[in-house]
């Protein structure tokens, strides 16, 4: 399924990383949540964010979306610093980003169609025919066109996440954030979500950060690529492309600090006791 994504142009120069986080820290009242967090995500790269519950993963995603302001540090999206921006200016930057929340966060009172069309309406698109065409296109991408008239309450957990993906990608984001997209799902549905993430990355070149507790998801994204011909995942080396295309990096947060940042190989071969706990 070819989804015609033409990413919203930003002010950035092409050699800049899609995301640059520099010495970011945040605390709530007396509780330190993130301290001196720094990393970069290149264009078309995937960063897998690992960490135990309460290590600051979801807070980091909210900082990257500008939903929270850091106490210190800089966050650059496509070269633009989010920290000094007002809510109105942030709204413009957020058009280049999409997020899939842990439980989907679909609007309960709106149908699947209205949920997915929400962003287009917010961007003042008035042509209803154009809206419907685009909504059907993205719902087809997540293989849920049949559910277009359903209400969120009628959907299963996996379907809600897929609608959430459709809602996030409708305005052609350059960057996607996934907050535990497979949490609580059965293995088959979780795999379908992973395929979607890989599909967006490999067919549209979308940079992404995936927060997950499931290491197998991280390895699927790292070891496989989406093949448009086979409409599914294939091992990265047998895709007919030259060399390893795996652009996946791993980042482990521990007590609000970056504990590990590196490639899959470095992560798998690490002898550190704490990192080994993720692999067992």
């Amino acid at each position: 399924m070819a989804l015609s994504l033409s990413p919203t142009p930003g002010p950035a120069r092409s050699h800049e990383p899609a995301i640059e986080v520099s010495h970011v820290g945040i605390s709530f009242e007396d509780k330190l949540v993130l301290l001196d967090v720094s990393f970069q995500v290149g264009r078309g790269e995937t960063l897998v964010l690992l960490g135990v519950t309460g290590s600051g993963k979801s807070v980091l995603l909210k900082l990257l979306l500008g939903l929270l302001k850091p106490d210190s540090g800089r966050i650059l999206i496509e070269g633009q610093d989010l920290v000094p921006l007002s809510e109105n200016e942030l709204s413009l930057v957020r058009r280049r980003m999409g997020i899939v929340f842990q439980e989907g966060a679909l609007f309960d009172s709106l149908s699947v169609y209205e949920n997915v069309a929400y962003r287009l309406r917010e961007e003042r698109e008035r042509d209803e025919e154009k809206i419907e065409c685009r909504v059907r296109e993205v719902l087809r991408f997540v293989e849920l066109e049949d559910a277009i008239d359903k209400m969120p309450a009628e959907l299963s957990g996996g379907m809600r996440r897929r609608v959430s993906v459709a809602r996030a990608i409708i305005s052609n984001p350059l960057i996607m954030f996934y907050d535990s997209p497979t949490a609580g799902l059965d293995p088959v549905t979780a795999h379908a979500i992973n395929v979607l993430i890989a599909k967006l990355r490999d067919t549209q070149g979308v940079s992404s950060i995936v927060v997950t507790h499931r290491l197998q998801d991280a390895f699927v994204l790292s070891n496989y690529v989406f093949s448009p011909e086979k409409q599914g995942l294939v091992a990265a080396r047998t895709d007919g492309r030259s060399g390893r295309i795996d652009p996946t990096r791993f980042l482990v947060l521990r007590d609000g600090k970056v504990y590990f940042h590196g490639t899959r190989e470095e992560f798998v071969l690490a002898q550190d006791t704490y990192l080994r706990k993720f692999l067992i």
Binding site: K62, L65, L67, E87, N88, S91, L92, R94, R95, M97, G98, I99, F101, Q102, E103, A105, L106, F107, D108, Y118, R119, E122, E123, R124, R167
Partner: protein, 259 residues
């Protein structure tokens, strides 16, 4: 130890006042620039205004009726039963109509607003809204503020009328007061100052009801249990605020010799 606890308590209260003021000022500031969510405002007017109509009319009617019953006992000792229309009209239009209508609307809608927005907050729908480029103050708060601001005065007018109707039915059935005697005395007793006073208050009460509901909704913490807490707190805070505001508005109007 006790001093620290007291200090923290005070800090929290001052912070709450600051955040509430920020929410209110930020919302009104946004009213002067696009985008405006007109459809959302109309939907909220239907929910808050039309939806509150039955309880407001019933409350108004029975308040007027019971006021007539109670006043009749006192007036009859002085042989001034003819003043019943005047007493009911003044009490209803000046105080009971606006205050009881606002309390009823607060009970029904402040809680509804707090629980709806609170549920959206804990299920990350508010974050999703912001991530999709929508300002929650414009989309969630402003339509509810305007809807309550516009419908509460209308509800108060209807409540006042039904209150006087309740008083009239009691007067005609129990006291055998003629309709002409009741309505003429009621009409003659009411001055423009009385009506203005009664119609001024709902605007302040309307803003209070919606703002308190939105404030508690947007500051919900602790999952579904937190939604319940916010709902209760919003009703209590809005009801108390209405009574306190009523006192100060009346005091202010007396101070400027409005009546």
């Amino acid at each position: 130890m006790l001093a620290v606890l007291f200090e923290n308590f005070l800090k929290r209260k001052v912070l709450a006042v600051q955040e509430f003021t920020h929410l209110l000022a930020g919302s009104f500031e946004r009213a002067f620039s696009p985008p405006h969510y007109v459809i959302d405002t109309l939907v909220q007017m239907d929910i808050i205004g039309f939806g509150s109509l039955p309880i407001v009319l019933l409350t108004g009617f029975f308040t007027g009726a019971v006021l007539a019953l109670q006043t009749y006992r006192t007036l009859s000792t002085f042989g001034e039963v003819g003043l019943l229309g005047e007493v009911v009209a003044l009490s209803i239009v000046r105080e009971l109509g606006p205050v009881l209508t606002a309390l009823m609307v607060a009970g029904r809608n402040s809680s509804g607003i707090a629980s709806e927005i609170g549920s959206m907050l804990v299920s990350e729908q508010v974050d999703a809204m912001r991530a999709l480029g929508t300002d929650p103050l414009r989309k969630l708060v402003l339509p509810r503020l305007f809807a309550t601001l516009l419908t509460l005065p209308l509800l108060t007018i209807l409540s006042d009328f039904f209150g006087m109707m309740g008083g009239y039915l009691v007067s005609s059935s129990t006291v055998r007061l003629s309709g002409e005697e009741y309505w003429v005395r009621a009409y003659q007793a009411l001055t423009i100052q009385d009506v203005t006073q009664g119609m001024l208050k709902p605007f302040f009460f309307g803003v209070t009801i919606a703002a308190v509901g939105c404030y508690f909704g947007l500051h919900t913490t602790g999952g579904t249990a937190g939604v319940g807490r916010s709902t209760t707190q919003s009703v209590v805070a809005a009801s108390v605020a209405i009574l306190v505001l009523d006192f100060f508005i009346t005091k202010f109007l007396i101070a400027i010799r409005f009546f």
